[in-house]
Symmetry: C2
């Protein structure tokens, strides 16, 4: 009881090719016939079957999105941008939560391949050699969002993390801070972990000739709880720190939470700086000073780059770095 192109053709007294034409190149159909067809399409409430179309056109206007977890505030903001870009180009997003789990990812990629997605975007996770091989084997266009690969030539869209950290440290120094601690991401994370830590260490070395990193750095996993714990450890081993730079907003909130419990005032006693500028950054007390990543744009640009690859065979720019921004709010004190 489904309405197909034949039904439309029959009721319009034309052949199915004519119907197909008014759908795909209306200009090539005489006006009266075209209008007749359009008319019955409306009357019948006809919807062309995208599966049949995709089977022929080799294009489904569906894009796979591999992310670690939709419910992560950073990720969901990125997806928002992706969705907007996709919608603008007439495509849809198929969301896949990988939870950083290899098997899950492989399984999802299989399904995406079978569903004939035009390409996919891979988010937030580093691209290991194994992953790269899997991508190769799949043979689908891919763009990396909020991650990149120096080893492989995969198009990517992200922020320049090292520069961002340099700028953050500069900012803290301008505010008069000299005793700067850091809550870093995990060292096994070559995207948001090591680069930010590396830049921080470089800055410490350069600005203060400081190399006793064990006393000023602690590690978390970007989560609230890990930030809380890291702050605890940091505080227990070092009371001289006047400001803590955190590799994520969530960790910054965790740190603030610990300090609050210890009745250490933020920013009067200790300043806290975050990274990301997720929505929570301006909802907390005190409002968080942070390094803003253009999450929406990262998402938007990544699917734009993907669509470009589909059109032109390649993205206009292999590794695209979007600009970050220091957002000054209330959690960092000017102690000059």
């Amino acid at each position: 009881m489904k309405i197909t192109i034949r039904d439309v053709a029959r009721l319009s007294d034309v052949s199915i090719s004519t119907v197909s034409r008014v759908l795909n190149s209306p200009g090539s159909v005489k006006k009266d016939k075209r209008e007749k067809v359009l008319q019955t399409i409306k009357e019948l409430n006809y919807h062309p079957n995208a599966l049949a179309r995709g089977l022929i056109n080799k294009r489904t206007h569906s894009i796979g999105v591999l992310i670690t977890d939709v419910s992560n505030p950073f990720v969901s903001e990125v997806i928002r941008g992706m969705e907007e870009a996709a919608h603008k180009m007439g495509s849809n997003l198929i969301i896949c939560n990988t939870d950083q789990n290899k098997e899950k990812m492989i399984e999802y990629l299989r399904v995406l391949k079978e569903k004939q997605v035009d390409g996919f975007v891979f988010t937030s996770e580093p691209v290991s050699e194994e992953y790269h091989e899997i991508f190769q084997e799949l043979g689908l266009p891919v763009v990396l969002a909020a991650t990149h690969s120096l080893e492989y030539d995969l198009p990517s869209v992200k922020v320049d993390d090292e520069q961002a950290v340099f700028d953050a440290v500069d900012f803290l120094i301008k505010k008069g801070h000299t005793q700067i601690g850091m809550i870093s991401g995990p060292t096994w994370d070559p995207i948001s972990g090591t680069p930010r830590l590396f830049a921080f260490k470089s800055a410490m070395r350069e600005k203060f000739s400081r190399t006793d990193f064990e006393t000023i750095v602690e590690y978390g996993s970007f989560t609230f709880d890990s930030g809380y714990t890291a702050m605890k450890k940091l505080h227990e081993k070092n009371q001289t720190i006047t400001t803590v730079f955190c590799a994520s907003d969530e960790m910054a909130l965790g740190a603030m939470s610990y300090l609050y419990e210890k009745r250490i005032s933020v920013p009067d006693d200790v300043s806290v700086m975050g990274f990301d500028n997720t929505k929570i950054a301006k909802m907390c007390i005190p409002k968080l000073t942070t390094v803003a990543q253009p999450m929406y744009e990262i998402g938007y640009e990544s699917v734009t780059a993907l669509e470009q690859t589909l059109e032109d065979g390649q993205a206009s720019q292999l590794r695209k770095y979007l600009t970050h921004e220091i957002i000054e709010r209330e959690s960092v004190k000017d102690i000059n």
Copy 2:
């Protein structure tokens, strides 16, 4: 240069029907042939084309998801649950941000219909008569998540908002509060607006014979900023209130933010209670006491209900109400 079922058939010395059989009912193929086929499938890295399959099977294992905005913390948590359920049943989610915009929604529904999704889930928005007609015309199975319809028999999954508010007020009363204010959602919202407000008013009437609602209620739109503004208005017109019940966590944070600016201590001077229990509720200072909605479960159960509808023709339960829970944290003071 794509590998199809014919390639597999040829290299396995069998007919394409046999290949199809090992894919769909392996039991009906003799062992040696089956293994041969499986073997070459692996060698060729063959992926069956889901479009072709869907064209025949009338089932795509794709589900449309209409939400207002992925980047909303409540929504993204719900999606997480949906995705998990979908994945478990071998389906995928196509995400559509409607921004509460009718045209956008209609456009999305058209595309979903064309892509032959098995059904869709509609989230967070009330179902107007017009929307219902659109749904009818589409002829796709639908489940409502975090919303419902009393006028139409559409399967839905949500919390019992009125009961939740009764329980919240009870909780506040048990904590010794008698001067209770509310920051409500908009009155045009028949899902999260009026029912919560209605229940609040009933409770006030019943417990305190109070009917001067203009002096104890203000309105927002569930957002942080609107919560801030509403709190300001509420405070300016009424200083006797000892606790403010907010229709969303975000508004509660906005309220706390205002109070913080005014150096009114939460919870020592004024208590604040939220609604939702989004992630931010436990990251803020003080941690938010709130009414928890099982967001993940709402998502999970809604796509489960949808899949059930696809299997059995209808959901096991038309309107499903999941249980809420009062989460006591730090923002409500016991003043007994």
